[in-house]
């Protein structure tokens, strides 16, 4: 099985989906000739041409909004926000439009768009190139939010996002891009959105996290005496509803939340 980096897994998923379905296309700033500022769309312009790897004007609301329009028509756009920090001008399009179009039209219209954005710190990005913005979207009905933690997850989940008939925000940790490497099958596979991965079963302490933080949590686990506590990790996808269900099932008194943003903590703990 080939070993690849997290960002190579992203590029591979995009490439395979574009080959599989002509309706899939990419739009965003610098995604074309340059292949993206992080090189996530590297080589796709040459392979699929300008029409399907579209360099857009620098205007995030249009990147999202034009993608939404094309998706309503029946295309499968993958819109790139250059940094998650710059998604803010597109929030109205994402929350008022993409998230609500199926609901507000009583199931008449839908928006099969994927919006990718690199998030997180650790790459000398300072204030405006390091933020984790998922909490803004995590409590919005109609959106699905995916934050993969391994190259294997990145490929399988991005494919699932592109094939999903509802809007998916796909956040990629930018430090993970080249830091994380792992085995990724060459064949086509899709991981289900909405299911968490239990990294380790246990009884004493529950740790819920996602994205790059899964690896921090796994490191922490190594430093803890095994007899004292055991940890459970749910990762793959940020599904507060699912986490709540799992917590109710476990009926554990002691639940700790590490690396979860405040709003997500609140969402998760509502039915604790």
């Amino acid at each position: 099985m080939p070993v690849m980096s997290y960002i190579q897994a992203v590029t591979t998923a995009l490439k395979e989906e574009m080959k599989r379905d002509e309706k899939v296309f990419i739009l965003g700033e610098d995604v074309g000739k340059k292949g993206g500022v992080f090189r996530a769309t590297d080589g796709l312009y040459d392979e699929f041409g300008e029409a399907r790897v579209l360099d857009t004007p620098l205007a995030e609301s249009a990147i999202a909004g034009v993608g939404i329009g094309a998706a309503m028509y029946g295309m499968r756009p993958v819109a790139e926000m250059q940094f998650a920090d710059f998604i803010m001008p597109a929030v109205n399009q994402i929350i008022s439009e993409a998230a609500k179009i199926r609901y507000r039209s009583n199931n008449d219209w839908n928006v099969p768009i994927t919006i990718r954005a690199p998030y997180g710190g650790g790459v000398h990005g300072a204030l405006y190139h390091s933020q984790s913005v998922e909490a803004i979207f995590a409590n919005q009905p109609g959106l699905k939010i995916v934050m993969p933690s391994t190259p294997y997850d990145a490929k399988g989940l991005l494919k699932a996002a592109i094939r999903d008939n509802d809007p998916v925000l796909f956040f990629e940790h930018k430090r993970a891009y080249r830091l994380l490497k792992g085995e990724v099958p060459e064949e086509d596979y899709v991981l289900p959105i909405g299911k968490a991965d239990v990294k380790r079963e246990g009884t004493d302490i529950t740790v819920i996290t996602y994205g790059l933080s899964v690896h921090f949590a796994l490191q922490l686990l190594k430093s803890l005496p095994k007899k004292v506590s055991t940890l459970i990790f749910w990762t793959l996808e940020l599904s507060t509803h699912l986490i709540r269900q799992q917590l109710l099932k476990l009926r554990k008194r002691l639940v700790k939340y590490y690396w979860l943003q405040k709003i997500i903590k609140k969402e998760v703990s509502l039915e604790k």
Partner: protein, 330 residues
């Protein structure tokens, strides 16, 4: 209006009569909705009155079997021309389950109907502009010969989505026609406090597309402008911005009192130019709208409006638990 105007545009007598009928139906439905609102039967009205000529004139210049429209909340004339029925509009007014726009989930005026290629709209204004540009992008990518048509008020032409959308369309030469229905008011704010340029259409220059201002009370002038724009779009020559100037004859909505911010003389003056009167005068002048035809038309529209009202009033509401449906694909 000279006698041959509609013939010179390639419109038959039947077609212009159909245009007038659609305008009149929009007006009469709108008037009925106000009555129903004041009688406490429907929660809200947001009017098309004063803008029917622009809406219907433009729609008739489009291919109503192929083109996509992204209307804004006043566009009853557009959606009627694109196949939504009077009954369906009344179902929306009463917020009944059968409302094809939203199943009673949205306020009236929030149009959408996939089978007629009417994109669903929301309340935050101007979001529909990038959507229409996206549909036009799809047309170009798929090499299809349709255009997308998007409308908005002049107030909305100050939103970022207007500028972002038009610039995108201009850069990629997309087959999208944007029509700003300039009714001179953004709720209470008059045009001179909204826009620094002389015309909304002046803004087209910044996006590399033709910008045209037409008399929005004249359905034939609007028809001509949209027809030309469609031809350019289909020929790969890109987008057009059209500004159709008319006047909002009612308050902003059933919850607004326009006496707080404008003089009744101004409204009375605008009513002299009301297209329902002026276009009827043209059709009479050219011998299309005879007394007999007018009488039949009024009767026919009267019964359409009555039947639509009765049907919608008696139709069931959605079940309460339906409010939880369709957040995601089911």
């Amino acid at each position: 209006m000279s006698k041959e105007r509609h013939e010179a545009l390639g419109l038959s007598d039947d077609q212009v009569l159909e245009m007038f009928k659609t305008m009149l139906l929009a007006r009469k439905l709108d008037e009925r909705m106000w009555l129903l609102n004041r009688a406490g039967k429907i929660p809200f009205v947001i009017s098309c009155q004063g803008q029917e000529a622009a809406q219907v004139g433009a729609s008739f210049a489009l291919d109503r079997d192929k083109d996509y429209v992204a209307p804004y909340y006043r566009d009853m004339g557009v959606v009627l021309a694109f196949g939504m029925t009077a009954t369906e509009l009344m179902l929306s007014g009463f917020a009944k389950a059968e409302d094809p726009n939203s199943g009673g989930r949205q306020m009236p005026g929030h149009f959408g109907q996939k089978k007629n290629r009417i994109l669903t709209g929301s309340s935050p204004v101007t979001t529909q502009v990038p959507h229409a540009v996206g549909v036009a992008l799809a047309a170009k990518m798929e090499k299809k010969d349709f255009v997308s048509f998007v409308t908005l008020g002049e107030g909305s032409s100050n939103q970022g989505d207007f500028h972002e959308g038009l610039n995108f369309a201009g850069v990629h030469k997309l087959p999208v026609i944007t029509m700003v229905e300039n009714n001179k008011y953004a709720i209470s704010v008059p045009i001179e406090k909204q826009i620094a340029s002389k015309n909304v259409s002046d803004r087209a220059q910044g996006y590399g597309m033709p910008g045209i201002t037409v008399d929005g009370n004249d359905p034939l002038a609007v028809y001509e402008a949209v027809k030309d724009a469609r031809e350019r779009a289909i020929n790969g020559e890109g987008p057009t911005l059209i500004e159709a100037v008319s006047y909002r004859l009612t308050a902003h909505s059933s919850d607004d009192d326009d006496r707080q911010y404008r003089e009744s003389d101004e409204v009375e003056e605008a009513k002299q130019k009301d297209s329902i009167i002026t276009f009827a005068a043209y059709l009479k002048e050219v011998g299309i709208l005879t007394e007999e035809v007018e009488k039949e038309l009024n009767q026919e529209i009267g019964s359409i409006v009555n039947e639509a009202t009765d049907y919608a009033e008696n139709a069931p509401y959605a079940d309460p638990e339906d409010a939880l449906k369709y957040v995601y694909e089911e």
